[in-house]
């Protein structure tokens, strides 16, 4: 399979339940060598071979970039998702051999920042685990505001408090604790960069308030991996390769294209990097665009689709693949 990155043969060295929804997986290289160095905010794409089906899901690396003996990811169980997280939770055990991509960073720290202000929601905490470790080792100036539903679902909250003490602030939904966002964003020193990772609604809220309060767009960073959503099955014609394929309910369009032996380039598989952008030759129906790459104009035009996260409902769809 052609990809944007080199592959790493790994073995699961540990599986650690973190709370009722989240489990952590540790990977080591099968040949015993060190893994490639990475930077805080990087992700890997994990290949999941589940019988006939191969899923490829991106997960943020959450270990310290200074320790490359192992990679660690945390997977939140999504009972309504397409089954990738359930596969990880139910079938992956210590000793399972897997393949992951080289690290790719689409949520990089801006090292010019005088201060790094981080806002995490839920499982969006994972890239910040690596970024805070990287910054702490360099004496970097950061502050993390972390919102979770309940204390027991506050993944790694205790660990972060223990490591960084007052640089970490926790907010619990069930106690009606809320980030006083306007106050926070209005009281930062010049040269602060803002990073946000969490649910879409939270990212939109933070970006809107930052813009309203005059933050320059280049100081606001966000990670927006949309997991591909399941949906009604649909048929697609791949004009260049002369194939007609069916996209199953639990399959992404990109996965269905790959299963037919056609390999578009990809990096994030989450609708942000732009690599798998595909031209639409003709369609009769409605697109369900879930990406953050194409412009609204592109979405309206019906000429382009990001097959990693977007779907289609209707009579016919012909793609330039």
């Amino acid at each position: 399979m052609s990809t944007g990155t080199t592959k790493l043969d790994v073995v699961v060295s540990d599986v650690v339940p973190v709370n009722e929804l989240v489990t952590r997986f540790h990977f080591r290289r099968r040949d015993g060598q060190l893994l490639p160095t990475f930077s805080g905010g990087a992700h890997v794409v994990v290949e999941m071979r589940d019988g006939e089906r191969t899923r490829l899901n991106p997960y943020s690396l959450m270990g310290s970039p200074l320790d490359t003996r192992e990679y660690t990811i945390s997977v939140r169980r999504d009972d309504a998702g397409r089954g990738g997280s359930l596969f990880m939770h139910r079938q992956v055990r210590p000793g399972t051999e897997m393949v992951v991509s080289y690290p790719v960073n689409l949520f990089s720290l801006d090292l010019r920042a005088r201060k790094h202000l981080m806002l995490a929601g839920g499982i969006g905490i994972t890239p910040f685990m690596a970024q805070t470790a990287q910054l702490a080792a360099q004496g970097g100036n950061f502050e993390l505001h972390y919102t979770c539903r309940t204390a027991s679902l506050g993944t790694y909250a205790d660990l972060l408090r223990e490591r960084y003490d007052r640089r970490v602030r926790l907010y619990h939904d069930d106690r009606d604790e809320r980030v006083d966002l306007d106050r926070l964003l209005s009281s930062q020193p010049l040269g602060t960069h803002l990073y946000v990772c969490g649910p879409s609604g939270m990212i939109g809220w933070v970006r809107d308030r930052a813009a309203a309060l005059g933050w320059p767009p280049e100081t606001v960073h966000f990670e927006h991996f949309a997991a591909p959503q399941p949906g009604a099955p649909f048929d697609v014609t791949l004009a260049l390769s002369g194939k007609t394929i069916r996209v199953d309910e639990q399959q992404s369009l990109l996965e269905a294209i790959e299963a037919a032996g056609v390999d578009p380039p990809y990096l994030c598989r989450g609708g942000v990097c732009g690599q798998c952008e595909t031209n639409v030759i003709s369609h009769d129906g409605k697109f369900i665009h879930n990406d953050h790459w194409l412009s609204e104009e592109d979405h309206r035009s019906g000429c382009k689709i990001m097959p990693c996260v977007s779907r289609f409902e209707g009579r016919s769809l012909v793609l330039e693949r």
């Binding site: 944007g4 990155t5 080199t6 490639p36 160095t37 990475f38 930077s39 905010g41 990087a42 970039p65 080289y102 690290p103 790719v104 960073n105 990089s108 720290l109 801006d110 090292l111 010019r112 990287q134 360099q138 280049e218 990096l267 990097c273 690599q275």
Partner: protein
């Protein structure tokens, strides 16, 4: 068997020469009898033995002399090496890359011993044996980028990646074809390419930037670029234009073979792991016309390329003044017979 390093100069008496083996391994940049810009980028993977691609970071017989020339340039003008404050981490990334690649390709000349963050670097050609703590700037005599690029052939630009663009935020630039790090430092990809003719209209830079910002760790890429230089001078910088600019008026039919050099840049692009920056090594290879035309295919092809080059390009590359003399000299070596496809000599 190690490399025999030449004692030679790139200034004053210009004693630079290529040995016969190095003439044959010269990275001749024309695969056909004409030239136009293209996004000629390909994966930077190891190439044939005996070529400049045998190792991903090439060390050749000019290594010691080039490092001495770099030290002279820096002594006169320290601003040829600059690193903005946020680029130190990328400097460590580059130090790791160059030490590992040089030790891997040339174990008889370079050795790297790593024990956690305690590193020992042995550079036999330059007589260096240093122990230091990786990540601790106070344990090296220079910053990490300057330290290792004083020991590595070629110029190095480190490009920070942010806001969907690349920014020239650090570099060691002493062997350049008429551009200045001190002028370009802090500029983005479009700003520093602004003077290049024709390529903007072709949308080349937009596509090139898209490609470069997607370069992945462990998957470097490369391209060749070229120009011509009078005398084997590595430092053809704008800062020193008064020293080399007038050389272009000294070309005569009698001295073309000795004075006119094809200057080829092997440019490669690497994602750096800790900083997520891109390093862009620009490795310069020089060959005088007398050496180049020992390969009849190259003589014929170069004649046709230079003769048919669009005027804008000839002007941008600074060839205009001596082009007629050069074309006339090369025409005598071109019998009109076809050239074989590909870059290499027959």
């Amino acid at each position: 068997m190690g490399i025999t390093f030449r004692k030679e100069t790139f200034r004053d008496d210009f004693t630079f020469r290529n040995s016969p083996e190095h003439i044959r391994r010269f990275p001749f940049p024309f695969h056909e009898d004409s030239y136009m810009y293209a996004v000629n980028i390909e994966p930077h993977v190891v190439g044939p033995k005996g070529s400049v691609l045998e190792n991903l970071i090439d060390v050749d017989e000019h290594y010691v002399a080039e490092m001495q020339d770099r030290a002279l340039v820096l002594a006169e003008d320290p601003l040829r090496c600059q690193s903005l404050p946020h680029m130190t981490l990328a400097g460590w990334d580059l130090l790791e890359l160059l030490m590992e690649q040089q030790a891997l390709g040339y174990p008889e000349h370079f050795t790297l011993i790593r024990d956690g963050d305690r590193w020992r670097w042995i550079n036999r050609p330059l007589g260096i044996d240093d122990s230091f703590t990786f990540g601790d700037v106070s344990t090296l005599p220079y910053g990490p980028m300057e330290y290792i690029t004083r020991q590595s052939q070629g110029d190095f630009c480190i490009l920070d990646q942010r806001d969907g663009n690349l920014w020239m935020d650090a570099g060691m630039v002493t062997t350049q074809a008429d551009w200045s790090l001190d002028f370009d430092i802090g500029m983005n990809f479009f700003e520093w390419h602004a003077p290049v003719p024709l390529a903007h209209e072709k949308g080349i830079f937009v596509r090139a930037l898209k490609f470069l910002t997607n370069i992945q760790q462990g998957k470097p890429a490369r391209r060749l670029n070229w120009t011509m230089t009078i005398n084997p001078r590595l430092d053809t910088s704008p800062e020193n234009y008064h020293k080399w600019g007038p050389d272009r008026a000294t070309v005569t039919p009698e001295n073309v073979g000795e004075k006119v050099h094809l200057r080829v840049e092997l440019q490669s692009f690497w994602r750096l792991p800790r900083s997520n920056a891109i390093v862009f090594p620009i490795r310069c290879y020089l060959i005088k016309m007398d050496e180049l035309v020992t390969q009849p295919k190259w003589a014929r092809r170069l004649h046709r390329v230079i003769r048919d080059l669009p005027d804008e390009l000839a002007n941008y590359k600074g060839l205009t003044r001596y082009r007629p003399t050069l074309v006339e000299w090369l025409s005598k070596l071109d019998d009109g017979s076809p050239t074989s496809p590909g870059f290499g000599p027959d």
